[in-house]
C-alpha cells in the first residue's frame, strides 16, 4: 500500500506561498514573487503527476476491480455533534485525481504565462499571491473528503475569484463585475448550504465516502415525500445543484460569468474557463451515486438546465463582439453540455457513459479553453483591444498564437482527431441513448459552437488588415511556450483511454467510437465551420442581413436576452428600493419612532404633571387638607374592616 500522505503538500505549498507573499510580498522584487509562485506550482504539478501515476498504476484495485477511494489525510477541524464534524483532508479517487491534474496543469501554465503577461503591471506580486490562494482553494475543493470541506473551499474559490476579477480595482467595471460574481455565486451557495443542511440532517454525515458508498444512508433515509411531491433527498440534491449551477454559470445564474472577463486574461483562463467554473460539474459528479439512486428528478433538472444553458449560451455567443465574452459564453455552453452529459447518465458500466463523457469533456475542455483564453490574452496583449471588429489579419503578425488558436478552435468544434472530438462524441452518444430531442439540441449546439468559434477565428486572424497604432508583435516566450504546450495537450488528450480511468462506478470499461453518432457530429461541426468561413473569411454583408432578418430575436440575443436587465431590475429596483429602503425607513420611523414616542410620552406626561408643582403654597395646602380629609373619611367610614 502506498502512503499518499504527501498529497497534503499539494494543499500546503500554495497556502504557504500565499501567506508568505501576502505578508511579506512587498519586501520582494515583483519578479521574485512570480517565480516563487510558479516554482511552487511546478512542485505541486509534479506531485500530482506522481500521485496520478501511483494511484492509477501502482495501487491495487479492490476485489471487484474498482479504483479505491483513499483517504490520504483526514484531520478533525471542527466538531458539530457526535456524528457531524468537519474534517480537512485529501480524498483520492479517479475524478479527484483527474481534477488535480487539470487544476495543477492549467494553473502551472497560467503561472508561467502570467510572468510574461503581467510583466510591469502594478500589483504583480498581489496577482501571484491571489493566484496561489486560488490554487490552494481549488485544490482543496477537488480533494475534499466531505461535503463541508468542499463548501469551505467552494467559498474560498469564490473569494479568490472575486479578488482576481477585481484585480484592476481602480476600474469601476471591474469592481462591479467582481461584486456581481461574488454575490450571484453567494446566492447560489446559499442553495448549496441549504442542500448540505438537508443532506446532513437526513443522513447524519458529511463524509463523501459514506454518502456515496454502497450502504449510503442517503439511499435509505429521506425517501419520503417532503415538499411538492418530491422526497427530501431529491430536494437536497436540487439545492446542492443550485450551488453547482451558480459556480458553473448555468442558466439563470450565469450572469456573472461574462462580466467576470473584466479580470486579467490569465485569470479568465484559469478560473473562468478551466477550473472553478467546472466545480459545479465536479460537485454533481461527486454526489453522482445519490443523484442516480435516489434523486432521479434532481438529475433530470441537471439535464434540462445543462441542455438549455448550452444552447442558450451558444446562441448568445454568436452575437457578441468582445472576444473574451464570446469565449465566456462558449464556456457556459460547454459546461452546459457537461451538465447535460451528467444528467443523461445512468450508473455503472456502459450506462454511466454520460458520466465518463462529462468528465472527459471537462478534462479536454479545460485544456483547449484555457488555450483559447491564453491565446486571446496574447492577442489582447498585442493589439490592446478586446473587440473583434477592431482586429483582423493578425495571422501574419502572430504566427504562433494563430496556430495554437486554430488548434483549439478545431478541437472545440469537434473535428477529429483533436481532443474535443472524442469527448463531445461521447456526450452525444450518451445523450442519444437517453433522449432523442435533447440529442438533436446538443447537435445544434455543436454546430453553433463551430460557427461562433470560427467566426471569432476569422474576424481576428483573417479579414481586412486593420491599421494598428503600432505593429502587433508576438508575445514573449513565457507566453508562447505555454500556448504551445497546451496546444500539444489539446492535440493528444483525446487519445487517452479515459473510460479506463474514470467511470461512474469506478470500474474501468471500454468506450467505443460509435460511427453513427460520430459522423453526424463531425458533419454538423464542419457545417458550422463552412458557414463561418462563408460569412467571415472575407468581409461580407451576409451576417448583417441574417442579423436583420431575425430581427427581435437576434437583438435579444445580442443583449443576452435581457437577463442582466431583469436581475438589475429585481435587485436595484425591487430589493434595494422596495425592500431595503422601506426597512431602513421602518426602522427609523416605526421601530425607533415607537421608542422615541415612548420617551416623548414620558416627557409630555412629566410636563403635564409638573403643573401640579405650581409653587402656590395654598394649592399644596388645599391638596394636603383634602387628602387628609379623604383619608379620614376613608379610614373611618369606607374601610369598614
Amino acid at each position: 500500500m502506498i502512503d499518499f500522505s504527501y498529497t497534503a503538500l499539494i494543499l500546503l505549498i500554495p497556502l504557504v506561498i500565499f501567506v508568505l507573499s501576502g505578508l511579506f510580498g512587498n519586501r520582494f522584487k515583483p519578479l521574485v514573487s512570480g517565480i516563487i509562485g510558479t516554482a511552487g506550482l511546478f512542485v505541486i504539478w509534479v506531485l500530482s503527476l506522481v500521485t496520478a501515476y501511483q494511484y492509477f498504476f501502482l495501487t491495487e484495485k479492490a476485489a471487484d476491480g474498482t479504483f479505491q477511494e483513499l483517504l490520504a489525510v483526514n484531520i478533525r477541524w471542527l466538531t458539530f455533534s457526535d456524528k457531524l464534524h468537519i474534517d480537512m483532508g485529501v480524498l483520492l479517487d479517479p475524478i479527484s485525481i483527474m481534477m488535480l491534474l487539470v487544476v495543477t496543469t492549467v494553473s502551472f501554465m497560467v503561472h508561467i504565462y502570467s510572468i510574461g503577461y503581467m510583466h510591469g503591471e502594478k500589483g504583480f506580486m498581489r496577482f501571484f499571491s491571489f493566484l496561489s490562494l486560488f490554487s490552494f482553494s481549488m485544490l482543496g475543493l477537488v480533494v475534499a473528503t466531505n461535503i463541508f470541506q468542499m463548501y469551505i473551499f467552494w467559498e474560498l474559490v469564490g473569494v479568490s475569484s472575486y479578488l482576481l476579477i477585481g484585480f484592476y480595482y481602480t476600474r469601476d467595471s471591474a469592481v462591479a463585475a467582481s461584486k456581481k460574481a461574488f454575490i450571484v455565486t453567494r446566492f447560489a451557495d446559499l442553495g448549496f448550504l441549504v442542500g448540505i443542511l438537508i443532506l446532513s440532517y437526513t443522513t447524519g454525515t458529511f463524509d463523501f465516502i459514506t454518502l456515496t458508498g454502497d450502504e449510503s444512508p442517503a439511499f435509505t433515509s429521506g425517501q419520503g415525500i417532503w415538499f411538492m411531491g418530491l422526497s427530501t433527498m431529491t430536494w437536497s440534491m436540487i439545492f446542492v445543484f443550485i450551488g453547482g449551477a451558480g459556480k458553473s454559470a448555468m442558466f439563470p445564474l450565469h450572469i456573472w460569468l461574462p462580466d467576470a472577463m473584466e479580470g486579467p486574461t490569465p485569470v479568465s483562463a484559469l478560473i473562468h474557463a478551466a477550473t472553478m467554473v467546472v466545480a459545479g460539474v465536479y460537485l454533481v459528479a461527486r454526489l453522482f451515486p445519490i443523484y442516480t439512486t435516489t434523486a432521479p428528478v434532481a438529475l433530470d433538472v441537471v439535464m434540462y438546465v445543462g441542455a438549455f444553458s448550452s444552447v442558450f449560451a451558444a446562441i448568445i455567443a454568436c452575437t457578441q463582439y468582445d472576444i473574451k465574452r464570446v469565449l465566456a459564453y462558449s464556456t457556459m455552453s460547454q459546461i452546459g453540455m457537461m451538465m447535460f452529459a451528467l444528467g443523461v447518465s445512468g450508473d455503472g458500466g456502459h450506462e454511466g457513459l454520460g458520466f465518463m463523457a462529462s468528465m472527459f469533456h471537462l478534462f479536454t475542455h479545460a485544456f483547449f479553453k484555457s488555450l483559447l483564453f491564453l491565446a486571446a490574452g496574447a492577442i489582447i496583449h498585442a493589439v490592446h483591444t478586446n473587440v473583434m471588429n477592431e482586429m483582423g489579419g493578425l495571422r501574419k503578425y502572430l504566427p504562433i498564437t494563430h496556430a495554437t488558436f486554430l488548434i483549439a478552435c478545431l478541437s472545440i468544434s469537434g473535428i477529429p482527431p483533436l481532443s474535443g472530438f472524442f469527448s463531445k462524441d461521447e456526450i452525444l452518444a450518451a445523450g442519444y441513448e437517453k433522449s432523442l430531442l435533447l440529442y438533436w439540441v446538443e447537435m445544434i449546439v455543436s454546430g453553433l459552437t463551430a460557427f461562433y468559434m470560427f467566426r471569432l477565428y476569422y474576424s481576428i486572424f483573417w479579414g481586412k488588415a486593420t491599421q494598428y497604432h503600432h505593429t502587433p508583435h508576438e508575445a514573449p516566450k513565457t507566453m508562447t511556450v505555454t500556448l504551445i504546450i497546451l496546444a500539444v495537450i489539446t492535440l493528444l488528450a483525446g487519445f487517452i483511454p479515459f473510460s479506463h480511468f474514470v467511470s461512474s462506478d469506478r470500474i474501468p470499461f471500454a468506450a467505443h467510437l460509435d460511427l453513427s453518432i460520430a459522423l453526424p457530429a463531425v458533419l454538423v461541426g464542419l457545417t458550422g465551420f463552412f458557414v463561418a468561413t462563408l460569412f467571415y473569411r472575407k468581409e461580407t454583408t451576409i451576417p448583417g442581413q441574417i442579423f436583420n432578418f431575425l430581427g427581435g430575436f437576434s437583438r435579444a440575443a445580442y443583449h443576452k436576452f435581457y437577463i442582466d436587465e431583469f436581475y438589475l431590475f429585481v435587485t436595484k429596483k425591487i430589493i434595494f428600493n422596495y425592500i431595503s429602503r422601506p426597512i431602513a425607513w421602518f426602522d427609523r420611523h416605526i421601530v425607533d419612532g415607537a421608542m422615541n414616542g415612548l420617551s416623548y410620552v414620558t416627557n409630555e406626561a412629566s410636563f403635564r404633571i409638573r403643573r401640579f408643582q405650581s409653587g402656590q403654597l395654598q394649592q399644596y395646602a388645599l391638596v394636603f387638607v383634602s387628602g387628609a380629609i379623604f383619608l379620614t373619611l376613608f379610614f373611618l367610614y369606607l374601610w369598614t374592616h
Binding site: R610, Q613, Q616, Q618
Partner: protein
Amino acid sequence: MFEGVPLTWFLITGTIMFFIGIYGFLVRKNLITILMSTELILNSVNINFVAFNKILYPDHLEGMFFTIFIIAVAAAEASVAIAIIINIYRRLVNIDVEKMNEMKY
C-alpha cells in the same frame, strides 16, 4: 371638678375654630394673615388639649403642659415667620403668597 359643659362642646368649638383657621390658610393672600390663621389653628388645638385634660383626666396635667409647649413653639414660630416675612418684603416689596412661586417646576 368642672361641671355643666360637656367635653363635646369644647371639641366642637375647637373643631370649628380649627377649620376656620384652615380656611384662612387656604384663601388669604397676605402672608401675615396666613400666619394669623396658623395661630387660630394652634389655639383650637390648645383648647382641645386643655378640655381633655380638665374633663377626662383632671388629676393629670399633660394637657396643660402640651399647651404650654405649643404656646412656646407658636411664639418661636411666629417670631421666625415674621422675620422671614420681613425679609421677603424687603426683597419683593410685597408679601402676597401667590407671587411667591420661585419653587415651582
